[in-house]
Subunit: 204 residues, 2 copies
């Protein structure tokens, strides 16, 4: 049994954002360590035969409405970003670089960085597919912009993200967010409360 | 403002079944009339470009696991049916026939019939795509089997189902179940509790 909660998300997924604002409280309540796993849905959709949510007729319009309604229910700031969806490769690689660092201070920046990227995109309307935007967000958190820029080009960092996506697929992750607790996958921001109940009851 | 709760579902949808066991309590709590709307996802998927859930790689395996897990959470009897999915044309047309009848006793049979069809498929393992199975279920409820058999062949009944599916698409229904309250659509069995909160709070 792992004592962690693993949270898989794509920065370009509104539900990934909405869940990111609530999953830490669940982890804290149950004494679990939260592990962030940025992934790229584009790569996963190639395997599963799915497409970005908002590209489906009818379902896409519902999703655009539901993003905002779900945000209002949980009192989470949300503005539908444009462009949308975007490729979050740079932001996701930056997470891999922070995770892989031997500097504990950089490791500790991962959580604030995840929240800052989400906020930049879903609250402030910045285009986080732009590497410069990602670097500036990192800099504001006190992360050395030049070191990060170099890191984003490292083959090891690129490989780490590829490997993370492959491992997520292997685990059975097909959407964002997916929360993994003790080997159980829960897909959806609307399942965060179910994860809480699962931990309350020790499963069912 | 409508005073009803409209519940759109495909008999072949496990989540449609799981939601059907909980939606009446929500309607009753809020003094709303519940209206059952059987639809055919096959026709809807042609418009939305989706496919049956369990046909998607990875996502399909998750769904098969989640059906059972969701049933356990709510203590709903559930056995994964085989064959699955099936075409629920006969059962859905039977609902249209019950709805359209000028006999109030037949109208009143709609709710027991919906539950009996779901139970036959998801608890007792009967193949509800078979018209004879549907007729026998109806007969057990005291519905005249021969009259229903004749009704299933009526063009007006066939047209009523086609029209119901077209109206659902027009309304924005793309999945099962979809609960509609005061013009708001909520997709998913896992959103039944959100519908309850929506009514508690008068929206948000």
């Amino acid at each position: 049994m792992s004592s962690s909660i693993d949270y898989y998300f794509d920065f370009s997924s509104p539900y990934g954002y909405l869940g990111s604002t609530r999953i830490e409280a669940v982890a804290q309540k149950h004494g679990r360590k939260l592990i962030w796993h940025p992934i790229l849905l584009g790569a996963i959709f190639k395997v599963t035969g799915q497409a970005p949510l908002t590209t489906y007729p009818i379902r896409g319009d519902y999703a655009l409405h539901d993003f905002k309604r779900a945000a209002r229910e949980h009192e989470i700031a949300y503005t539908q970003p444009d462009p949308f969806p975007i490729g979050a490769v740079a932001a996701s690689r930056a997470c891999c670089w922070l995770k892989a660092s031997t500097d504990a201070e950089l490791n500790a920046q991962l959580t604030p960085f995840v929240h800052a990227i989400f906020k930049a995109y879903y609250v402030e309307g910045h285009n986080i597919s732009d590497t410069d935007v990602v670097l500036n967000i990192a800099q504001k958190l006190g992360i050395n912009k030049d070191e990060l820029a170099t890191g984003l080009g490292d083959q090891s960092v690129k490989d780490a993200l590829k490997s993370a996506v492959a491992q997520a697929i292997e685990l059975g992750v097909f959407g964002s967010p997916t929360t993994v607790v003790d080997g159980e996958l829960f897909w959806g921001s609307d399942r965060i409360e179910q994860v809480d109940r699962w931990l309350d009851r020790g499963g069912w």
